[in-house]
Symmetry: C2
Subunit: 126 residues, 2 copies
DNA sequence: GTAGGAGTTAAAGTGCACTCGAGGTCAAGC
DNA sequence: GCTTGACCTCGAGTGCACTTTAACTCCTAC
């Protein structure tokens, strides 16, 4: 598979794939006359990176996760991240409820909605 | 309330608060001899911004949301964002499950876990 | 044999969301 | 009246995650 095909299949730009390789998020692909040749594993590796990134891992953390996967040092990293991810999911559910309320609400008094929303938000910081 | 107190109460740095004001995410605070004076509403306004930011709105989108709140143009913005937020929440739940599986798994064969995880990730792109 | 298209590298540039630093102001307490 | 500390503005700097650019190579098709 060329970098172009991999790019089309993953939706990730070719330059982003090169960048991921350079940053050691995915293994260095073997070259055929200077060009990268990928196999099916690259799809999985990129999918792992994207999922982790979507879940809020930084690329530095993902590099750690993938490089420390073979020894057992990834465990504390994963545990810390699980807490963060659960918290992020909670905040997203709150935001979902607020958006749903906001959208479904037909009240003419937009100021009332506003107060209700500000109140929901404020609960979070006190 | 001074900017320092507001900073302590919200956990947001004073420079970030000034930045939010400059970017019109929160209203321009009145000055007393050159210094900003905040009241309780500032707590709510900052909480709204932080919640929206946590939910994945960019500051530009938040500015739109807060500035268009009084007319009814915020509605399509909120609807589009609801879809994104639901999707983000789904991805976070996937990541939570993967992390939980990873952490709870006691198997010695880390390669097996690895394959299972790569498989879960790969499902997402095919 | 040459044009085109896809690939290569290294380095510089971009956008976001702040953060920092310099140089200055202001009120309170000694 | 002077020091201290918290505040002010403005502009530059930072870190992340890429993207773009420049100059080049390689294969295919005409």
């Amino acid at each position: 598979m060329t970098i172009g095909e991999l790019s089309r299949k993953t939706g990730l730009s070719a330059s982003a794939i090169r960048y991921y390789e350079k940053e050691r998020l995915i293994p260095t692909a073997p070259r055929r006359s200077g060009r990268r040749v990928f196999d099916g594993r690259a799809l999985e590796q990129i999918a792992v990176v994207r999922l982790a990134r979507d879940a809020g891992f930084t690329l530095a953390e993902i590099r750690q996760l993938v490089s420390e996967f073979r020894n057992n040092r990834w465990r504390p990293l994963a545990e810390r991240k699980l807490i963060e991810v659960r918290d992020a999911a909670l905040r997203l559910r709150q935001m979902t409820r607020i958006l749903e309320r906001l959208i479904e609400c037909q009240c003419a008094d937009v100021e009332f909605c506003g107060r209700a929303i500000r109140h929901s938000c404020r609960e979070r910081i006190r």
